[in-house]
Amino acid sequence: MIHDFLTWLGSTEWSVRLLESLWVWPLIESTHVLSIALFVGSAMMMDLRLMGVRFGTVRASDFTSRLLPWTRGGFVVMVITGILVFYSNPVRYYHNIFFRLKMILMVVAGLNIWLFHSRIHNRVADWDTAAPPPRAARVAGLVSFASWTLIVVFGRLIAYNWFDCDLQPQPGFVNWASGCMLPAE
């Protein structure tokens, strides 16, 4: 069902135009990469603070009040441009194993953000200058740093068709994980 919907989505006029455009697609993709440098880059600096690795002289709440608006701005641009890239070729991305790994990790990163803000950051006054930060904050920083690093790596690898469904034969696991619909033998 999702496959059928995405097949339709990919056949819409703007999707086709976007994929075939000479300048717009590269510009969107470049904006995506540069907004990643802003979002992931500034998030990583905050993660270093949460892990107690660096920025020990800066209060944790400075990161979440003064730097976070920039991080959020980068996130918004990154998501919008990412959705546009997906829209340009939805079926291909949907069945790409790296895209799927990336989406799973984005759920992990998202849950981590939610847990951090609802359980750990709401008591930031207790540990704003604590060195090292409490264990829960260090774990949240580590999960964030690791998951965003892998998201960047998998995101880059989406561009390669090693495991694409139209490139058979593939190991059974790959076809299963990519949701490939193979013709009955």
Binding site: S30, V33, L34, A37, V40, R54, V153, L157
Partner: protein, 155 residues
């Protein structure tokens, strides 16, 4: 005139190994991108502060001192992954305008960051007209390097 040099680069063992491997270029490129995030983040926190936004409760000198090791790590990762990427497709790069924009801006950005910005930030505390100039110049230079780098793959 420089073409023979680029041909030599492409013929190096490292260039050949990366070019002939199915996965090395993509994996090195992915690490290059993670390095971009580390470098970008560590440059941005200081540049934002120089511009008068971001982590304003800290002095410029303190933020710069905190960010510096990660900035240097980011530069090291970028250069050590960027060189093999370049060697694997040196001749393509020679005919690529985006590559020339990037490679000519890169030493300017590096020298500006390491000599001008670091020297300025070491003793600066609060935002001033000159700190804004330093921050804006640094951001602009690295923006050109990053955008040019991404565009190498499109042209």
């Amino acid at each position: 005139m420089l073409l023979p040099f680029f041909e030599w680069c492409e013929a190096t063992t490292l260039g050949r190994v990366v070019r002939e491997s199915l996965w090395m270029f993509p994996v090195i490129e992915a690490i290059h991108l993670v390095g971009l995030c580390v470098l970008g983040g560590s440059l941005l926190v200081v540049d934002f502060r120089l511009l008068g936004t971001g982590l304003k409760d800290s002095t410029i000198a303190d933020l710069d001192r905190q960010a510096r090791p990660w900035m240097l790590l980011g530069v090291a990762v970028m250069l050590s992954t960027g060189v093999p990427l370049f060697l694997s497709e040196a001749i393509k790069c020679y005919y690529n305008t985006a590559f020339w924009v990037k490679i000519l801006t890169l030493p300017v950005a590096l020298l500006f960051t390491l000599l001008v910005k670091e020297r300025f930030a070491r003793t600066a505390t609060e935002t001033s007209t000159s700190s804004r100039w330093v921050g804006a110049t640094d951001l602009l230079l690295w923006f050109v390097v990053a955008a040019g780098g991404r565009w190498i793959g499109f042209s």
